[in-house]
Symmetry: C2
Subunit: 199 residues, 2 copies
């Protein structure tokens, strides 16, 4: 049973924008959609093949303009219909799995020291991501093929900006809380260490 197979629709959706090769798809997921969607090549190629068998997409050999030969795919009417139906369904909220928060939840076992380390690293990383995303903003108008396209891409980007900024704010708050605790309690050692010392 497992999950619904969203790779199909992710691929179909991209091909609805325009013809692309498997490799193109991977690049696009990585470069422009990484803050809300990920796909691996080991998933993309088989999916493309399957969609082809089902008549959802068409394949063309593209040997255009000096480039080496590659296979580009475009969506068929059937594919577009299937995509459309899926798009209208209310989006499923995914099951979340946030390793950072899980580790913090186990804080007494982790130790305040390490918690601060994890948080600092995370904050730095999030700031870097934020910078990249802010750099996207002007790019969108150039890449989008219509005003409508641009509108929706701006909306998805805005989501990323809001959430990342919230995460950064949270990091600061959390580190502040830990600092306060440290000062008032002097409890910086993980439970495991204290356990040892007690014996």
């Amino acid at each position: 049973m497992a999950r619904s197979n969203r790779t199909r629709y992710a691929v179909l959706g991209m091909l609805a924008i325009g013809k692309r090769s498997g490799y193109d798809l991977k690049k696009e997921f990585e470069r422009r959609m990484s803050h809300f969607w990920a796909e691996s090549l080991g998933q993309i190629y088989p999916t493309l093949k399957q969609l082809l068998d089902e008549g959802m997409v068409r394949a063309h050999r593209d040997s255009g303009t000096g480039r080496r030969v590659r296979t580009v795919y475009s969506i068929t009417a059937r594919g577009r219909k299937e995509l459309s139906a899926w798009l209208q369904d209310p989006p499923q909220t995914e099951q979340v799995r946030n390793e950072m928060l899980l580790k913090l939840y186990f804080g007494p076992e982790l130790g305040v020291e390490s918690a601060v380390t994890h948080l600092s690293r995370f904050e730095t990383e999030q700031r870097r991501v934020l910078e990249v995303m802010e750099g996207f903003q002007p790019e969108i108008a150039e890449v989008a093929e219509s005003g409508e396209q641009e509108l929706f891409w701006k909306i998805t980007l805005a989501s990323g900006l809001h959430v990342i900024r919230a995460r950064i704010a949270w990091c600061q708050e959390a580190r502040c809380m830990l600092e306060k605790w440290r000062q008032s309690e002097g409890q910086t050692k993980p439970r495991a260490l204290r356990r040892l010392e007690a014996s």
Copy 2:
């Protein structure tokens, strides 16, 4: 290959807090950790069995105080050591998959109308989640078994609050953007419909 097997550590971490049955674990994931972690029973029971075989946990028959018999597990020294090592590793950022954002990214195919519908539904849902989380706050002090426990639980809860509020703010901004577009363009129909009408 696939992923690292975090279920092990999630279970181990919970048992480091105190003894619990498989069923208890499931409830706790669901009720108090659902905004950052999910586990299914079909995963929990086999993991518990495996951890038992490896000597990471111990099993006790608990027929206590009028309740029916159940199997509760507690962590062993080996288990705690394994957990500790994992906790110190920098948390891996998960691959994200946000169906809502994916569908919005395909906005021209989805249509402004449906986009607004999806967003509204999502916003309502997020507001409900926010309310539940805000209700948690006072509960934490009661459930936590130490000040340190309480501190860390407050930190994970704070993350949820920040992110959910950010999502709600984004919903409003996004709907505002869509409304503006609607007024200036009058383009409320999905591309599929316009395509039909054009022929």
